[in-house]
Every structure is written in C-alpha cells, then in structure tokens.
Symmetry: C2
Subunit: 116 residues, 2 copies
DNA sequence: TAAGTAGATCGAAGATGATCGATCTGGAGC
DNA sequence: GCTCCAGATCGATCATCTTCGATCTACTTA
C-alpha cells in the first residue's frame, strides 16, 4: 500500500544525531494563513455545499432557497453564511426582506492554484 | 464594493410567501463530506505548511526535519501529521528510528478539481 | 399603525480542536 | 543487558465550533 519508492534512497547515517534540517525557509507564513482560513471555512459539509450551490448559479441565490436544502435550522444556515462571508468567500446583498448570496469571484483562486 | 450585477434582475414578486426552492437536489452529500474533510485538514496554517513542504520534496521527509520548522512542540507536530494521515492526505513510513512522511498522490485531486 | 415575514443576532449547550508536558514504544549502540 | 534517541500516545487545559430556541431588526402589506 505504501509506495516505498517515495522514501529517499540515501538513508540517514545510523548513529548520527538528528538532524540538520534540509528543509525550506517559509516563503509564506501569511500566505499559508490566508489559504488555511479559506480551507477552514470550506471544511464543513454544509458550507461546502452552500458554496457549491452558489457557484452553480450564475447570479445570487436567496437565503430562503438555501435553508430548505439542509436539515438544519435557519439560524444555523445564517451562521454558516456568516462564516463564509467573514472568510471572504461569499458576499451578500439585501433586497427588501430577502438576502441574496453569491460567491465572490476570485475568492478561491489562491487556494485552488496552490492545490493544483 | 458589492457587484449588484450579480443579483438576479427578476425580483421575487412582492407579497409572495417565500419560497419555492429553485435549487439543486444534492448530487453529492457524500462527495461534499469527503471534500470538506480534506479541506478541514488543510484548515490549519501548520498543517497547510506541512503539506506544502512535503509536496515540494520529491520523496519523503523525516519528521526530525519538520519539527524545527515550526514554533510548536514535537507532540503537536506529531498530532498534526496524524490529522493529515487520517484525512488521507499524507502517508508515513518508518525506517529504524526515523519516520518519513509524504503526500499521497491524488489525495488532493477531488478538492482541487472542484475548486477549479 | 398593526401584523406578518425574512433573516440576523443572542445566549447556552455540547462537541471538537490545538497545544503542552509527561510518558510510552521500539530501534540503535554500547 | 542498559542507555539513548525519534516519534507516538496520553491526559489535561483552554479555546473554538456547531447547533439550537428565542429574540431582535427591518421591511412589506393590509
């Protein structure tokens, strides 16, 4: 199951105290924090599905259509939308009684590029 | 700041009780759960950087090189690696005293594809 | 103005998470 | 055997997260 080819051929010399790190200076503490924040917001099935539904719609979707999609209460949906909003993933617009949500263009770009 | 163009032109008829959901049956409850689990594991800056370092290495990296990269204790690094392992993102291989970790090929594919 | 509705916020509950020091495990070397 | 070391696990602490019912806000319509 484990691909042994991935382990470096050159074994660390036995009996030598570990270790001179060969590894990278971080080019990106803040970049990692930004991307982790986005990933964290997507790290809940409800939120991920919310983003999925919003992305599949061109335009924006009314909250009243989102709530019945899930087996959770309206305040909980509202909370999840807030988390997504605070992560910069979605935006919202009120029109009278209704609130419309949409995925912000480019919000997922950095994480998406890193993953590829 | 908010792009009003995103809001549908056709306003919901006033005075109509909300709402017939126009929205999607979920093609993907389980898919969402799988992807959310991966996103959740990446939703911590330390773990995201761990994956970043592992990915930039061809081959596998010794834990003893990973620990000094972060200002956290060895048990905490070990914990984060465990979280990544349980999410199916990394694998590990013991060689004598040392443990080597690597990113599992394809582990990020589904999430990456969805994000794109 | 009064009633009704959509959605946000509040407050509390219970669960999950990050982190640490201490300890355990098991291989290496003497 | 005994000692030392790398790494995993344990147990505790403190913070954060999910979820809910209840309430609040703001708009619409009668």
């Amino acid at each position: 199951m484990i691909d042994l080819e991935l382990v470096p051929k050159q074994k660390r010399p036995a009996g030598e105290r570990c270790c001179e790190p060969v590894v990278y200076p971080d080019v990106e503490r803040q970049q990692a924090e930004r991307m982790a924040a986005v990933a964290k917001a997507l790290g809940d099935p409800v939120r991920l599905q919310l983003v999925d539904v919003l992305r599949k719609h061109a335009g924006a979707v009314c909250v009243c259509e989102l709530v019945p999609l899930f087996d959770i209460s309206q305040p909980t949906v509202s909370h999840h939308l807030k988390v997504l909003r605070e992560a910069g993933i979605v935006g919202s617009e009120r029109q009278g009684l209704w609130a419309y949500y949409y995925v912000k263009p480019g919000a997922l770009k950095e994480l998406s590029a890193w993953l590829t």
